[in-house]
Every structure is written in structure tokens, then in C-alpha cells.
Amino acid sequence: MKKKRLFWQLYTSNFLIIFLALFAFTFLISGSFKNILFSQVSDDLKSRAQLLHEEILHFVRSDHANDLDAYCVDLGRRSSTRITVILPDGTVIADSERDPESMDNHRRRPEIRKAMDGQVSTSTRFSATLQQNTMYAAIPLLDRGSIIGVLRTAVPVREAEESVEALQWQIVLGGLIITLLAGLISLVISRRITRPIQRLKDGAARFAGGDLDFRLPVPNSEELSDLANVMNTMATQLQDRISIITQQHTQQDALLSSMMEGVIAFDTDERLININRSAAQLLKVDAEKVLGRSIQEVVRNVGLQRFVEDALASDTATEGYVTLVNDRERFLQVHGSILKEMGGQPIGLVVVLNDVTELRALENVRRDFVANVSHELKTPITSIKGFVETLLDGAISDREDAVRFLGIVSKQADRLNAIIEDLLSLSRIEQSSDAEEIVLASSSVYDALHAAIQVCQHDADMKHIRIHLNCESEITALMNPPLLEQALVNLISNAVKYSEEGKNVWVSAAQSKQNEVRLEIRDEGYGIEAEHLPRLFERFYRIDKARSRKLGGTGLGLAIVKHIAQAHHGNVDVTSTPGEGSTFTVTLPVNRGGGGEDVA
């Protein structure tokens, strides 16, 4: 059903009320006016009849009928009143307008009958004689108590009727004008009532549309202004609350997205309801697109799918590990906690993902180190023990064997010594670099390189390997010369060790950046395959264990180089092509502060 507008409801009802009031008014006023007018006329007629009473009585008593008629005609003409005299039997004996002979018996006329009963009465009806509505008044003619006739006076009521009619017309006309005016006024009033309501409605619509900065204009009328004020207050409060909620939401989002850990929330149907940035990055998904989808449709990882299923099924917090396989393996520690309503009913699950790949790698390095160090120490000891036991068992008596065995024991003891020396120097470097005890001074790079080459020169000559040095003598770097020399010796002797006879080793240094010197040791050796490069500087990491040991390596040389470089606030790096050779690069800062770190 179509709703009527308030304006039309107000206007039409106003209009109807005015119209009905005017109608009733017209009806009542014209009725009473007519009554007043008619009673005046009848009083007038009665008094005229009373005035004529004596005269006419005289005529009737003296029985001068002809004179009476003439008198009546004369009198009637002068007073413009019809005067009729009637005998008790109804016979008209005189009439001012017509010949009494031609008139019929008047005994049955209502006013005559009443007059016969001794009353004075009036009556209004259509007169056949006068051919119009006429009012009659009749009085009895009393002669010593007995009625000897009736005197009747009459006037036409046309005039009175006309003036009543004219009045009615005037009232109707006036009424119409008033109705029109009142209609106009009620139109204006209706407008004035509905317009502020309309404005309130428009304002409320803007509120509903989210425009809470808008304020309603306050109308004049008390009720509406109260309403407008209440609505404005409501808008303010709504705005406050929404801003609080938005703020909380933003804070929550900021909190979630700034978290290093990945956070994912699921509903009870395993569908994602929230995911933070870290989680999206970790799982390589688009955070916007995956909301509302189930875990199976988002992450193709069985471990995580299973974890979510199990966590949802269990009532307590769950914990587990998940492996992601992308370009490399990532290990995630995952925690799941059930989300519960106030009533304790589970409504979902929050999963926190913690990337523990690095941690695992560190753990692996440590575990490997312990295993390696034990192994490395055990090998020479086993050998020493074996030969010593053989000697004790009698081999000592065979001088030739004994000398050979003791030679081996001595070699293994040297090896053991070398390993322990390396371990000690490694831990020394580590400790003093942690305690920042290593004294760094600006020294000549050329001198350090030259000294290191001299140490390795003997081994190189044995293999007919030429070491080329290319370094300008004025280059300096911040260094601890004995330590740096040790690192360079390790690198150069490696280059010599892992090259075939007759090859070349290039040692060079150059200032590469404002505050950086690059030392390069390049060989033409066997080279290292790419898969080994990331772990090359780990302790005891060996590409080919047998080869390394045969060449007398301890497995710690490069680890020492790395630690020395770090103690110098520098770095060491390697590039290599299998079969073509390797290049080790040590970068050192030229002076203090420039390297980005403070040097004590």
C-alpha cells in the first residue's frame, strides 16, 4: 500500500473540518434567521388584526356586509395586507383582494379552525388566491363572549423568503471564500509542519548513509527541536563509537601485521577469517583473496592442513612443527589455540606460525660441530693409540718398524696439535673480538700480503706454483697485522693446496669503495661446487674429507678466516667455478667509523 504524505493528510483533514464547520454554520444561521423573520411577520399580522378587531367587530355586529367588504378593500390596499372576514360557518363575508362571493368555504383552514376555538394563530401556506406563499394570522371576533366571526390578516412571505435566500447565498459565498482562505492557510501550516520533518528525514538518511559529520538544523517547534537535538547527539555518539571501533581495529591490524610471527584465524569449518602479513608472506598467499576459503583451498601443505584439523578437534592448545617446501625448506613451529565464546562454545582457531628455520640451521651447525670436533680428534688419537699398542706388543724390538711407527705417531700428534691450536686460536679470536680486545691500527696492506706470501712460498715452490702479488704500497687498512696475516696465510695456503702443480695464484688488493679495501686471492684450482659455498666457512665443513685430510687440513682454516674478518669489522666471500678455480675476497674498512661500526 502506498503511504500518504503527511502533508496531504494534514491538509485534507484541515480542509474538511473547515468545510463542515461552515456548512453547519450556514444551516443553523439561515434557519434561525428565517425563524426570526417569520415570527416578526406573524407578530405584525397579529397586531394588525388586533388593531382592526373593534372596527370589524362593529361592522359584523351591524351586519353591513357590503360596507365591510369595501372597508376591507380600502384598508387592505392602504396597509398592503390582505384582510378577510369569515363567519363561524366558514363563509367569507369580506375580502380585500377578491369577491367574497366567489370564494369557497374557509372553515377547514388551520388558522380559522384555531380561531374558532378562541385562539390566535398563524399559518403559512400557498394561497390559491394570491398565487404565492402567504402567511395568515386569524383572531376570533368576540361579541360578549361568543365568537361571531374570524378576522384574518395575510401577507405574502415572498419578501421574507427572498431575504432568507439572499442571506443564505451571502453566507455560502462568504463561506466559500473563507474555506479557500482557510485552505490556503492550512496549506501553509501543513507545509510548515511537514518541512522540518522532511529535513529531519533527509538528515537521518544522511546519518544512515554514514555521513556522521552532518548535523541536523534545529527547527523552531519544541518537539521537533528536541528530536533534532536527540538525533544530533546520537550521531555524535555513533561517530565516537565508530571511531573507537575503527581505532581498535586499526590497532589490532597494526599489531597483527607488525608481528614477526604469522597469525591465522580459522572458523570451525576450517575457513580462514583472518591472516596477518607475516603469515601471508610465509605461505605465499594473497591475504585479501583467501578470506572465507577453507585451509585446503588456500595452502597446499599437508602438515599445516592436518595441524588445523587436529587443533580444531582438540580442546586444548596444540603445538607442532610444519615443514614448508618452497625454494628451500622452511621449518615452522605452530601453536594452535581454540577460540571460545563467552559460553565456552568453540568458534574457531588461532594458529601462530613461527619460522624457526634459522634456529634449526644454528642448531645443526652446533650439533655438527660437536660431532665433527669429536671425530677430528678421535681419528689421530685412534691412530696414535693403535701404533703405540703395536709397539708395546713387541714391534718396538724391530727397530725399523719402530722408527716408522713412531714417525706416524709423531705426525698424528702434530695433527692433533694443529687441530687444537686452530681450535684455540679460533676461540681466542672469538673471545677477544666479543670482548673487543683486538687492537686495530691503520697499517700497510702490502706488508701483510707480502708477509703471508713469504710463509706460503716454500709450499708453493714445492708444487711449482707461482704466486703473483699485485698491490700498491700506499694502500692501508684498519688491521691487526698478525691476525690478518694468519687469515691470509690460510687463504693462500689453501689456494696452493688445492691447485695442481705449475698453476698460478694471484694475490691482489685495491680500494674498492670510499672506506673499503678488497683483498683477493684467486687460484686456478679444482674449484668448489655451488652447493658447498654457503657452508664453506663453517667449522669442519669439508667438501671432500679424504682429500682434505691427506693435504693436512684441520677443517678449521676458513672458519678462522671468517672470524678474523669479522673481528676486523670486515667480511669474507667466495665465488667459484668447478674446474676453473676459486676467488676468495676479504673486505676490510680503511679507517674507524666508516665501516658503520665502532671500533674499540
Binding site: Q296, R300, V302, Q305, V325, E531, D544, P578
Partner: protein
């Protein structure tokens, strides 16, 4: 109608998505194992295969059970058929991954053997195709599925050039023949995986096209009725 229809095949879909995850993880581990010659990783691929096989059988039984129900709507029949085909393809990819892992173990014995860079390239290309085809299935993305089908040619080219590389190396070092043949079989398995990825994508298109028909025209409805 559509809501009810989705929910009825939903559990099946979930199982299949889980199979996708298993298969993809295994394939990724394979590629990783090839790149880093990680024997431990290769062994894990082999160990995980029985799980793929078990899930494949469970899914097949589920499909069969659904198809035996006469009340299954025609559009669901089409979906279940698609699921069945993808299920079988995934299982084959799983088997091929196992083959590759065995190959990696075999090659691992020869430490000096330098793998040609092309095999890693081929493996990466195949893996991309597999991932994209599984993505297309996950999101029922016809466009994505079509791209996968177009990628198959590239992988075939890589495979062919791979054969050339291996042949040249065998000529150069006849002593390495046996080892290089292992490399060749790795490449072959990779190329087959790419073929199955294409199959999966084609099935995604088939299932989606079924949906389009369902929304559409009268004669297609008739055709569908006779299909089922």
C-alpha cells in the same frame, strides 16, 4: 540448488586438495633434492609415497560410491568424473616423483658427476607447471588452466635440448655413460610430470565447462542428460 550441490561434493574436493598438497610437496622435495643432491630429502620423497597411494585409493572409492548413487545430479557426475581423472593423474605424478628421488639417490653415489644445469632448469619449469595446474584446480580457474596447457611446449623443448646435452656428454666421456643415463631418466620423469600437469589443467577446463553448460542453454541440457 548450487549451494547444496557444492556441499555434496565438498568432502571429496577437500580430500583431493589434500592429495594435491602431498603430491606437490613431494615434487618440490624432488627438485630441491636434484639441486642440492640431498639424499635425505630424496629418501623422504620415497617414504611419503605410500601415503599418496593410500589417499588415492580412498578418493577413488569415494568417487565410485558417489557415482553409484542414482540420485547424483548430472552436473555432479561431471565433477566426480573430473575428480577421478585428476586423482589418477596425481597418483602418477607421485610415482614419477618417487622415480626421480630414486634417481637422485643413484646419482648421489657418484660425487664427481656434475649435473648439467639444464636438468635444474627443466625441473623448475616442470614444477612451475605442476604448481600452476594445481592452483587452477584449487580456484577452478579456467584461464589459469589454459596457460598451463600452453606451457607444455616449452617444457618439451627443454627436454629435447636436455637429450642433446646428455648425448654430447656421453660422446665426450663414454666412461660416464651409466651415470648420464640416470640423468636422462630424471629428465624423462620430469617431462612426464609436465604432461600430467597438462592433463590436470585440461580436466579443470572440462569441469568448469560443465558448470557453464549448467547455467546455460536448452540443447546443452539435453546433451548433458544423454551424457549421464
Amino acid at each position: 540448488m548450487t549451494e547444496r550441490h557444492i556441499s555434496e561434493t565438498q568432502p571429496l574436493r577437500k580430500s583431493l586438495l589434500r592429495l594435491c598438497a602431498l603430491v606437490e610437496e613431494n615434487a618440490r622435495r624432488c627438485v630441491l633434492a636434484i639441486r642440492t643432491r640431498d639424499r635425505e630429502g630424496a629418501q623422504r620423497v620415497i617414504d611419503a609415497d605410500h601415503e599418496i597411494d593410500a589417499l588415492e585409493i580412498a578418493i577413488e572409492e569415494h568417487c565410485e560410491e558417489m557415482l553409484q548413487r542414482n540420485t547424483l545430479p548430472a552436473e555432479d557426475v561431471r565433477l566426480v568424473i573430473g575428480f577421478l581423472r585428476i586423482n589418477a593423474d596425481l597418483e602418477r605424478v607421485g610415482d614419477l616423483s618417487t622415480n626421480i628421488a630414486r634417481g637422485v639417490l643413484a646419482i648421489g653415489q657418484y660425487e664427481q658427476l656434475v649435473l648439467p644445469a639444464e636438468i635444474v632448469e627443466l625441473a623448475e619449469g616442470t614444477l612451475t607447471m605442476l604448481t600452476k595446474s594445481l592452483d587452477a584446480f584449487m580456484h577452478m580457474d579456467t584461464e589459469g588452466a589454459r596457460t598451463v596447457c600452453q606451457m607444455d611446449g616449452e617444457v618439451d623443448d627443454m627436454y629435447r635440448s636436455m637429450i642433446g646435452v646428455v648425448r654430447d656428454r656421453i660422446m665426450a666421456e663414454p666412461a660416464m655413460t651409466e651415470r648420464l643415463l640416470h640423468v636422462l631418466s630424471l629428465a624423462r620423469a620430469m617431462e612426464r610430470i609436465a604432461d600430467y600437469a597438462t592433463n590436470i589443467s585440461e580436466n579443470v577446463v572440462y569441469m568448469n565447462e560443465g558448470r557453464i553448460v549448467r547455467h546455460g542453454r536448452m540443447h546443452s541440457h539435453g546433451a548433458e542428460a544423454t551424457d549421464s
